[in-house]
């Protein structure tokens, strides 16, 4: 798929996120909107094999599990379940849990919630796939606030020791977490140097530039070490009154705000 078309998909993902969260009445707006371009690239550029029935598929794991609306939308728009079902997010009997659960919803490889938990799961998968010389890569999306969790650095050591070059982490570096700016709450910088010191490769990109994202993933696939793609993103990207505001980390738009947001997104 061409860049322009991937951008259109990202816009649709953003619209889905707004619709889903407004309907649910709760959820994480900023992080989900900020990762729309990355999800669109992963699911629609053709450079990641996400065919669920293929045993040699790449695994896509969400360690910052709270941004799952973006992933649900990408999965639905890839044809794995009806787009209509997105509106059941966070409701009783839904397959779309508030944090992803490996149940009946196609495309969820592992249940998550507490940050960093699924990063270890991703590393465990990568270990086995490498042991068995499988072609699959493991893509694991992580948050920046998540870097404050100690388990993260246990994983960083492990992946380097076992040279898990099939493990590709993508960090949503949007600089916010629930209570405010990451650098105020508990600084994670210099995050690039930290991963380099842990013997990972690191690439820094603009997380809203599709060409950049594609280039980085292509490069990551050839890495000889575990790799961290630090994607600089704007939380809430695409919706003026959400964009850049940490207050929107864990908040959903009202129906009125959703109307306004959708209007903005459709005019793009």
């Amino acid at each position: 798929m061409k860049t322009k078309e991937i951008e259109k998909k990202a816009n649709l993902i953003r619209q889905d996120i707004i619709n889903m969260l407004a309907e649910a009445g709760s959820g994480h707006s900023a992080g989900s909107l900020g990762m729309a371009d990355i999800f669109a690239t992963i699911y629609f550029s053709g450079i990641v094999n996400h065919k669920l029935k293929d045993p040699d598929r790449d695994r896509i794991i969400l360690s910052n599990a709270h941004i799952c609306p973006a992933m649900y939308s990408a999965l639905a728009r890839s044809g794995y379940f009806p787009i209509q079902e997105l509106l059941t997010l966070r409701k009783i009997d839904s397959r779309l849990q508030g944090h992803p659960h490996k149940g009946s919803l196609p495309g969820i490889e592992s249940s998550g919630g507490p940050v960093a938990h699924n990063s270890s799961v991703a590393a465990g998968m990568a270990y086995v796939l490498k042991l068995e010389n499988k072609p699959s890569k493991v893509y694991c999306l992580v948050g920046d606030g998540e870097q404050q969790e100690g388990q993260t650095w246990e994983i960083a050591m492990f992946a380097a020791k076992y040279k898990l070059n099939n493990l590709i982490f993508i960090m949503d570096r949007n600089t916010i977490q629930i209570e405010g700016e990451t650098e105020e709450i508990m600084p994670i910088e210099p995050i690039r140097d930290k991963y380099r010191a842990f013997n990972w490769n690191v690439i820094e990109i603009d997380g809203h530039n599709i060409k950049d994202i594609i280039k980085a993933i292509k490069k990551a696939k050839k890495s000889k070490k575990p790799i961290m793609i630090i994607a600089k993103t704007i939380p809430g990207k695409g919706v003026s009154f959400i964009q850049g505001k940490h207050a929107w980390h864990g908040r959903a738009p009202t129906k009125e705000q959703a109307k306004k947001a959708l209007k903005e997104l459709r005019n793009e």
Binding site: P114, H117, S120, A122, E154, F158
Partner: protein, 311 residues
């Protein structure tokens, strides 16, 4: 009973080598305690299937979940104070919520850890694991049963926690004794009192029963090697026969087998119950037998409890 003493962790280590040979999907993870957890033999025999994680129990549990979700049968090995002591959330979310086929084998449970003292004596692990859906909890009483528990855990699809102990203890069961998850074994038939225990402390239950015989008290001893799911049928049938039940364990009174039995009997067949366990205290350094006596979970405490309940 023969005279050879062996620890339940030894039984675990032997079983790993045995099943490792037969089943190439078995992986063993250990966090810098290979010798103590008896995973060393497996490591030597199958180095490619042994994963040294370093002192990082949270990651170890999550890794195992990922490995299980990729078709493997990983064993997570550490001390019970570290696993599930440190990595309970990873056990809860990554293993149990995924219903991942991970086996958690934790050694050095209970006061019988001895000289290492309170920080290393896991008296809370059953209380921590019992409320987790999907998880099976096994507590073998000797090396033979530990071997069977390990092999049976592999045949069960889903997470299993196996509680193991440090000291060498008597062999109670026989090679031919049946071991089925959720099916308790009656070690000795009796009619006056039911004693239910798990783990090597069953040795003390047997000693107590022999002593009680001199007082003309005929005790029934049940080996509840599976703590979850509890064998309701065997326990209720025994309670119907004796009308009095004592539970015995090297664990806190709160949240252990005693709690599980009390939950069952109070609702389904109320009889008099006494729970023997550590009474809301941490342990200390000492020899296993000394500690069991001091913390009122040894043979004498069992005899005393029987006499009290029969009064």
């Amino acid at each position: 009973m023969n005279n050879i003493k062996k620890s339940t962790r030894d039984g675990y280590g032997q079983a790993l080598v045995k099943i490792g040979k037969e089943n190439k999907d078995i992986l063993v993870l250990c966090a810098d305690l290979t010798n103590s957890t008896r995973t060393e033999e497996f490591k030597k025999k199958f180095p490619k299937r042994f994963i040294q994680t370093g002192i990082a129990e949270q990651n170890m549990m999550g890794l195992a979940a990922g490995m299980a979700l990729t078709g493997k049968i990983p064993f997570v090995s550490s001390f019970a104070v570290f696993s599930p002591g440190i990595n309970w959330s990873q056990l809860r979310v990554s293993v149990c919520q995924n219903n991942a086929n991970v086996k958690i084998a934790s050694t050095h449970a209970g006061l019988t850890v001895g000289p290492d003292g309170m920080s290393h004596q896991a008296l809370e692990d059953i209380a921590m694991t019992r409320p987790l859906p999907n998880l099976i909890i096994l507590s073998p009483c000797d090396a033979i049963e530990a071997e069977k528990a390990t092999i049976t855990a592999v045949n069960h699809k889903g997470p299993v926690y196996i509680r193991l102990t440090r000291p060498k203890t008597n062999i109670i069961t026989k090679q031919e004794t049946e071991f089925t998850i959720g099916k308790a074994n009656i070690l000795k038939q009796g009619k006056d009192i039911t004693i239910i225990g798990h783990g090597p402390i069953l040795n003390n239950c047997i000693q107590a029963a022999e002593n009680l015989k001199k007082q003309n008290i005929d005790a029934e001893i049940i080996n509840s090697h599976t703590i979850k799911p509890l064998d309701k049928e065997t326990i209720i049938n025994s309670a119907k026969k004796t009308s009095r039940v004592i539970t015995v364990e090297d664990h806190q009174k709160i949240g252990g087998l005693g709690s599980a039995v009390a939950e069952l009997l109070s609702q389904d067949y109320p009889v008099k119950i006494k729970i023997i366990g550590v009474d809301d205290k941490f342990g200390e350094s000492g020899q296993p037998e000394e500690l069991m006596k001091k913390y009122n979970i040894g043979t004498e405490s069992i005899i005393q409890a029987v006499n009290e309940i029969l009064k």
